[in-house]
Structure formats: structure tokens, C-alpha cells
């Protein structure tokens, strides 16, 4: 198992540009196993891009990203970095679950098929076992009656819960959430946050980009405020929310709280 000294996520001086726009300008962040880190900040602050760098959906320009001690996207040998092959990147990503703002469920598959897909194709699990586990996961997120519903037949909140079950099906060590409730009707936000809360209680390591200050305060172990591609302030959520030290954090929180 993981040595207690190895952080789950260790980002050192991450830089990322899209063309001429520098989106990340040296982000440092460490997340310990079992920790829930909530990342907040104005739009365009780079928080989603940073999250996508953790599982190499975006390639970083400089810095080092490690998950559970493993360098993401590269291999260090002979003092040089070597790009990982596609299959090696895929293997790293299996350990990292991701939940998207717009769910990104596979619309041509039922809820259960969505959850079974990666275990079936990537891990070659037999259909019966995969189906059984998919149903158990859907039960866990409160969708007992919806195994065979297509995404289009589900509400936004239900779709996002299927997406969480789908990510959990690969038994990830780390879960990334990219504004998981931002595309939901206000009355559906609660059911998704409940599932995430239960996950956190079970000890899952989570990095959550969110606008839900209540969730951050209640569930988060760390609150990270990002602006203009940098981490401006990080600390215990109650601390940061009650006494933001940085001027920029104060200005942001005064608008959203």
C-alpha cells in the first residue's frame, strides 16, 4: 500500500500555455492520501486546466506532476525526461477517476453499460462480474432503479451520479472533480454533493474544482484559491473562508459568499 509519506498529488511549479496565453504560471500543490482539496477561484484562473494536468488530459509545459509518487506523462531516465507512450499514459489514468462538468456520459449506452465499459474493455472483466459491480456502484450512488436507463432519460443530477459510479468502477486511488455541479439545476446539486460527501467519508482522496463554498467548508480538508494561473492562498477551509489573508481572496469571497 501507499507509504504514508508519499503524497497522492504532488504538483511542483506547473506551467501551461495555450498559444500565447499562459494559463498556469507555476502552480504548487500537495494533496495527501485521504485528503479532500477544494480548488476555488474566478473563471479563467486556470483551476480546471490544472485539474486536467493531473491526469495528463493537458500536457504541462514545465514543472513536475506526480501522482502517488509516479511522474505523470513522463519517465525520468539518465537525467532526461522521456514522453510516455499512449498505453503507459492510459495505465496511469486508470488509477485516476475524473468527473466532468458536463457529465460526458456515453449516450449510446445505458447507465450500467456506461459503468461497465472501462472494466470490460480496459481490464477485460467478464460481463457478468462487471455488470454485478456496476449495479453495486449504481446502488451506492442511489440509482437502484436506473440500471437500464439511457443518459437522455435521466436528470442532470442522476447523470452526474452515473458519471461518478463510472469513474469509481476502475477503483481509482484519486478522484478529480471538474465543477461537478455547475451544469445542474439548483435543486439537483444536493444529491450529487451527498454522493461526494459519502466518498470523502470513505477516505477517497479528492481534488474538487467547485463553486460550492458550503461543500468546501464542510467536506474539504484544504481550500485552495487560485487566480491568474497561481495558487494565491491555501489552508483549512474554515480559516480561508473566515479570514482570507490575501487581498485577492478577500475580493473574490466577498462576491461569492
Amino acid at each position: 500500500m501507499t507509504a504514508p509519506t508519499t503524497p497522492m498529488v504532488e504538483a511542483v511549479d506547473i506551467h501551461k500555455s495555450f498559444g500565447r496565453v499562459e494559463v498556469l504560471r507555476g502552480v504548487d500543490l500537495t494533496v495527501q492520501p485521504g485528503e479532500v482539496a477544494c480548488v476555488i477561484g474566478p473563471s479563467g484562473s486556470g483551476k480546471s486546466t490544472f485539474l486536467r494536468c493531473i491526469n495528463h488530459l493537458e500536457r504541462i509545459d514545465s514543472g513536475r506532476m506526480r501522482v502517488d509518487g509516479d511522474l505523470i506523462g513522463y519517465r525520468e531516465a539518465g537525467g532526461k525526461l522521456h514522453e510516455l507512450r499512449e498505453s503507459e499514459v492510459a495505465r496511469q489514468r486508470r488509477e485516476i477517476g475524473m468527473v466532468f462538468q458536463r457529465f460526458n456520459l456515453f449516450p449510446h449506452m445505458t447507465a450500467a453499460q456506461n459503468v461497465m465499459e472501462a472494466p470490460r474493455t480496459v481490464r477485460r472483466e467478464p460481463r457478468g462480474a462487471a455488470r454485478e459491480r456496476a449495479c453495486a456502484l449504481l446502488d451506492q450512488v442511489g440509482l437502484q432503479a436506473k440500471y437500464d436507463a439511457y443518459p437522455a432519460q435521466l436528470s442532470g443530477g442522476q447523470q452526474q451520479r452515473v458519471a461518478i459510479a463510472r469513474a469509481l468502477a476502475m477503483n481509482p486511488r484519486l478522484m478529480l472533480f471538474d465543477e461537478p455541479t455547475s451544469a445542474l439545476d439548483p435543486e439537483l446539486v444536493g444529491e450529487v454533493l451527498d454522493v461526494m460527501r459519502a466518498l470523502a467519508r470513505d477516505g477517497m482522496t479528492m481534488v474538487v474544482v467547485t463553486h460550492e463554498m458550503g461543500f468546501a467548508r464542510e467536506v474539504g480538508d484544504t481550500l485552495v484559491f487560485m487566480d491568474e494561473g497561481r495558487v494565491v492562498e491555501a489552508g483549512h477551509p474554515r480559516e480561508v473562508l473566515a479570514n482570507p489573508r490575501h487581498e485577492r481572496t478577500q475580493a473574490f469571497l466577498s462576491k461569492v459568499l
Binding site: E86, R93, N104, Y150
Partner: protein, 303 residues
């Protein structure tokens, strides 16, 4: 805005109004009905159609062997076209500019030259390369063939029709692939699926909804395009019929024989296309009743 709880006791009164009259529509219907009656009448009474001749040749051996060739050519060329089209579309979308460029040039060349010229080219390939061989490039040869034996008329037809079709199918498939939301690729990638798995399991099945209708067009069009093989001396339905009427001069009845077969095949293909569309439309809200039925069935199968 309504205030308070909805009154469930009082049912709303349905509107009973005099519908708008459409005299123009009725006039159009009447005109069309008369024209249709005239058409049926002339088809049945004009002796020039010679329906008995049509009946005699509909299942005649030369017609049926022409029909068989039409079917075989259409099926195999579409197979080459679809497989080649998928490969070209994936190449065209590759980040590697050599692959993408090669696909672009292929599509440009095969869409930009007449199909008849391509058919003739493959047929007369022996004039350019009398022998074809397998071996190390610029090195020794292992086996070599006489081009005229390797590429007979049938093979030349398949090469001409199939490779030309691949260029058109490539653009159809590419359109389908780019129509699938990028979030789908990202979600599959985040789950640890490879690019090939993502293409096969996630992107292609969704692209099919966009790819199928124009592919149906292409197949129906191919059914009739196969008649171009006459330029290399091969024969299919239309050619067989032409051979017959050039001898007995029953031009109209024999063209009706060919038209009837083409219509029959097109009808079968249209029905088949409907089923395929329903299958790939599963999970979509825009399906018709059939899609909903099928959706229920596939859902039960996975249970």
C-alpha cells in the same frame, strides 16, 4: 403565473372551434388525383409498354445473372469503400501531417477524376506495368505476376468502384467523427481507454448516426453506378438488358425490367437502412416509435 395549488377537480374545457378551411389544398389534391388516374390508365392501356414481354424477361436467365453481378459489385465495392473510407478518415484526422496529407491527396485525386477514367485505368494497368511483383523495395523480388492475369475485368471493376467510393466515404466518415463531442474522447481517455478502444467503442458508434444516412445514399447510388463497368467489357443488370434489346428491339419493356429490379433493390436497402438507423439511434431522444421499441429490447438484453 399561477398562484396556489392547482385545482384538480375542475377539468379544463377543450376548445371547440370551426377549423380553418383550405380550398387551395383540396384543389391541388383533385388535380393530382386526376393526373394519377390518367397515368395509371395510360400505363395499363398503352400497348407500347408490352407488359407480357416485361413479365417474360423479368426472371430470364441473362437478366438474373446481370442482377447477380450488380449485387456482388455493389456489395464488394461498398465494403472496400467503407473500410477504406474509415481508414482514410482516421488518417485525415491524424495529428501526423504526412498521414493526413496522404489521405487528403488520395481524396483529391479520386474525387477529382472521372470514375470511367479510373475504371479504364485499372483495366489497362498492364500497359503501364506488364508485371506486378512482391519483394523488397529497390531490392530482390519474391514473386511476380502477369498484371493481366492478376487484374481481370472483375478485379478492375472492384478496384475502380471501391477505391473511388473510399474517397467519398472518407469525407462522410470524417464528418461523422468530428460531429461527436470531444468530451466523449476525454471521458474515455480519463478512464484509461486507448485511442483505438475509444474510436471503436465510443466515437464510431455515435458517429454512425451521422454516417448512415449518406452511406445509404452512396449504396443506392452505387447500385446504379455499377452499370459503368460496361466500359471495361464487364456486365451487370443494365448491360444485360441492353444486350437483349439490341437484339429484339423491345427497348421499353426491357428498360422497365431493369427499372423494376433497381426499384426493388432500392426498397430493400431503404428498409435495411431504417433498421440500422434505429439501432444506432438508441439512447437518442430524437428516435421514432421504432427506436423506442428497440431501445427497450436492447436494454433488456443486457440485463
Amino acid at each position: 403565473m399561477t398562484d396556489g395549488p392547482v385545482d384538480t377537480e375542475r377539468r379544463p374545457q377543450p376548445i371547440e372551434a370551426v377549423p380553418v378551411r383550405h380550398p387551395g389544398r383540396w384543389l391541388a389534391v383533385a388535380v393530382l388525383a386526376v393526373l394519377a388516374a390518367m397515368l395509371v390508365n395510360t400505363i395499363l392501356t398503352n400497348p407500347g409498354f408490352r407488359w407480357p414481354v416485361v413479365g417474360r424477361y423479368l426472371f430470364a436467365d441473362p437478366v438474373l445473372s446481370g442482377l447477380r453481378n450488380t449485387l456482388v459489385l455493389t456489395a464488394l465495392s461498398m465494403l472496400i469503400g467503407i473500410v477504406g473510407g474509415i481508414a482514410l478518415a482516421v488518417m485525415r484526422l491524424s495529428p501526423n501531417w504526412v498521414l493526413s496529407g496522404v489521405a487528403a491527396v488520395y481524396i483529391w485525386l479520386f474525387r477529382g477524376t472521372p470514375l470511367i477514367a479510373q475504371l479504364l485505368f485499372w483495366n489497362f494497368l498492364a500497359a503501364l506495368y506488364p508485371r506486378l511483383s512482391l519483394g523488397v523495395p529497390f531490392g530482390p523480388e519474391f514473386i511476380s505476376f502477369d498484371t493481366n492475369q492478376l487484374i481481370n475485368q472483375f478485379a478492375a471493376c472492384l478496384l475502380g468502384l471501391g477505391l473511388n467510393e473510399a474517397a467519398y466515404m472518407a469525407e462522410i466518415v470524417r464528418g461523422g467523427l468530428v460531429s461527436v463531442d470531444e468530451g466523449q474522447t476525454e471521458a474515455a481517455g480519463a478512464l484509461g481507454m486507448s485511442r483505438a478502444q475509444t474510436l471503436r467503442r465510443i466515437v464510431l458508434p455515435q458517429a454512425m448516426r451521422v454516417i448512415i444516412p449518406p452511406t445509404g445514399n452512396e449504396t443506392i447510388s452505387m447500385l446504379k453506378t455499377t452499370s459503368l463497368v460496361v466500359v471495361v467489357g464487364y456486365f451487370e443488370l443494365l448491360t444485360s438488358v441492353q444486350r437483349i434489346y439490341s437484339q429484339n428491339f423491345q427497348t421499353i419493356p426491357l428498360l422497365i425490367v431493369a427499372a423494376a429490379w433497381y426499384l426493388a433493390l432500392t426498397s430493400v436497402l431503404s428498409v435495411g437502412q431504417g433498421y440500422i438507423e434505429r439501432y444506432y439511434g438508441r439512447g437518442s431522444n430524437r428516435g421514432q416509435t421504432g427506436a423506442r421499441l428497440l431501445r427497450r429490447r436492447t436494454a433488456q438484453e443486457t440485463r
